[in-house]
Symmetry: C4
Subunit: 197 residues, 4 copies
Amino acid sequence: MTKGRVEAFSDGVIAILITIMVLELKVPHEPTLESLRPLLPIFLGYLLSFLYLGIYWNNHHHLFQAAKHANGAVMWANLHLLFWLSLVPFATTWVGENPAASAPTAIYGVLLLGTAIAYMIMQATLVRAQGNDQTLQRALGSDFKGKLSPLLYVLGIGSSFVAPWLGQLFYVSVALIWLVPDRRIERELIHRKSDLS
Amino acid sequence: MTKGRVEAFSDGVIAILITIMVLELKVPHEPTLESLRPLLPIFLGYLLSFLYLGIYWNNHHHLFQAAKHANGAVMWANLHLLFWLSLVPFATTWVGENPAASAPTAIYGVLLLGTAIAYMIMQATLVRAQGNDQTLQRALGSDFKGKLSPLLYVLGIGSSFVAPWLGQLFYVSVALIWLVPDRRIERELIHRKSDLS
Amino acid sequence: MTKGRVEAFSDGVIAILITIMVLELKVPHEPTLESLRPLLPIFLGYLLSFLYLGIYWNNHHHLFQAAKHANGAVMWANLHLLFWLSLVPFATTWVGENPAASAPTAIYGVLLLGTAIAYMIMQATLVRAQGNDQTLQRALGSDFKGKLSPLLYVLGIGSSFVAPWLGQLFYVSVALIWLVPDRRIERELIHRKSDLS
Amino acid sequence: MTKGRVEAFSDGVIAILITIMVLELKVPHEPTLESLRPLLPIFLGYLLSFLYLGIYWNNHHHLFQAAKHANGAVMWANLHLLFWLSLVPFATTWVGENPAASAPTAIYGVLLLGTAIAYMIMQATLVRAQGNDQTLQRALGSDFKGKLSPLLYVLGIGSSFVAPWLGQLFYVSVALIWLVPDRRIERELIHRKSDLS
């Protein structure tokens, strides 16, 4: 029951964050196709952040699908994750308006890093909440992507002060790595079922 | 379970998009009935986009009602659909502020076309996710409306550069075609039930 | 299943409308208590519209609780209701900014009237969707409040052109009439249960 | 059934309130790290209000988890709570923009006080709705925190007129007291289960 409400609440927050970002795509004053061009960096920023929110929503779903229990600690660890996610639209707009500046790109990376760490904490809290049931733990496996991402974010943040586009390239790369959905858990669940039959 | 969360998330995003659009109906400075007149094109644009979002919500529901399974691929195909839908408010405002200009009307059509294609991809992904179960496939039948709409959008986009009102007429026509809800699936489900009894 | 999704979608839209209205309570420039005074009419408008949205949410819930089936026609009748509700924040802001003007007060009433009519249509559509099951029909009874409200809205709209405060008084009165929740349906459901036992 | 819809609706409103507040974090004009500094008080205000909304969501969930029934009175008591919560973003922005002024800090406390009282009313209404079932009543125990908080809010409101930072300190303290989640109910439910086995 707690599990269901955590999922529903997270769905709600992520759905709102996704649609709030699009409000920053301000309609141009001139009704011409050329006037759309200055919107391009803001649009690309929206696209990248949409991907990130989609990835988190996807992984969040797979994670909770493999979990049987949730408790108060999971609720707070999840709120902590949502807090970091809620700051993404801010950084998205800032970097979209200043794609060639270092500070916004670095801050965007700091938020991605904070979100990634919050996700790891939440995942660990959820695993602990399962008690002796090891399905989730086993499904997560080595969590290679989860460990690689923070490293790439740190490299991206550092690169931002050398060349913003390099930092942005790091963030795009991590998104692409994750776009392949987290099939580990799906596989494990199917595996479990065939064990039972 | 995945199916339920995809439905809930889509409901959330579509509900937010619908209400975000209404924020563009800015209160007039003068408290007179005449001062509402300049809002008319924006209101009509809101009405049309509300209809489109309602149509997509309706068809989305009927589609998933006939489906038994969803997987990671469906989740991403659905996010892709939501991405296109999320851009509709932007184009709605732009066309509402410039109803007599070509570019906004054309862009509105491009977004409708992108949304329609994303829906077709999602539908195909969902059919594939059903494996050997053919209920959904059969329920969809020839999908005549689904194939006609993109053609009409393309004609609408082209017409926008001749006369914006002609392009808008195409978009209104497609909405009217779809307003008749997608009864195919309801019929098929009832049919199935009577087969079983 | 259709019923559940109509309820969830309506909850989403109403929840967003309620919170969107509060965005019109713009923070005053001066950090003093006196600077809150000009916000009073906007606050009162928010309070009244919050009540109306709460009433609709409440009655919507009770209505669907007594229903067993929903279909495509109910989905569209419900979207039609949500369309009218979605315009309430617009009129709320307008009347809040111009509490002594006729046009905004009249338009507010027109929207309340439209919403009430849309609710009646939706209710009738839902009753029809129940087929031979008369629980919902019986639970609704004479629907006295539902028939009185449109009349009072019309009187309110007319009065707005004589004295806006008189029109507003009508709208407040209807809200107070409805604040007593729609116990008819609760009563009928309890009645039914005791019949069965 | 009523219970489930009250929970879903509350989740929706709280999720939207949380994300609406973040819209007040306006992107700075300069793309430099120093330009983020003036945002700090607004950010801290957001953080505090996020915590409060998280606490209410958490306690709301635990409360309803222990409840078996809800009725029309609970629905209205809950809407009353949501009304007070919906005003929190307004006060958050005001205090964030004027952290050294008395009035915004006092108003923030008034809203926290109103919310706390609304929660107490809702809790009592929910307990009454359980009839003879005493699980919820017993789970709530002495409700020490619930009784302490309003007192601290009153002290905070008073202190605001002496020194705003002192009032703010009171509000932060209450949040910290509540951050320890309401384990009473979880404990009681576990207790009950072991009684049954």
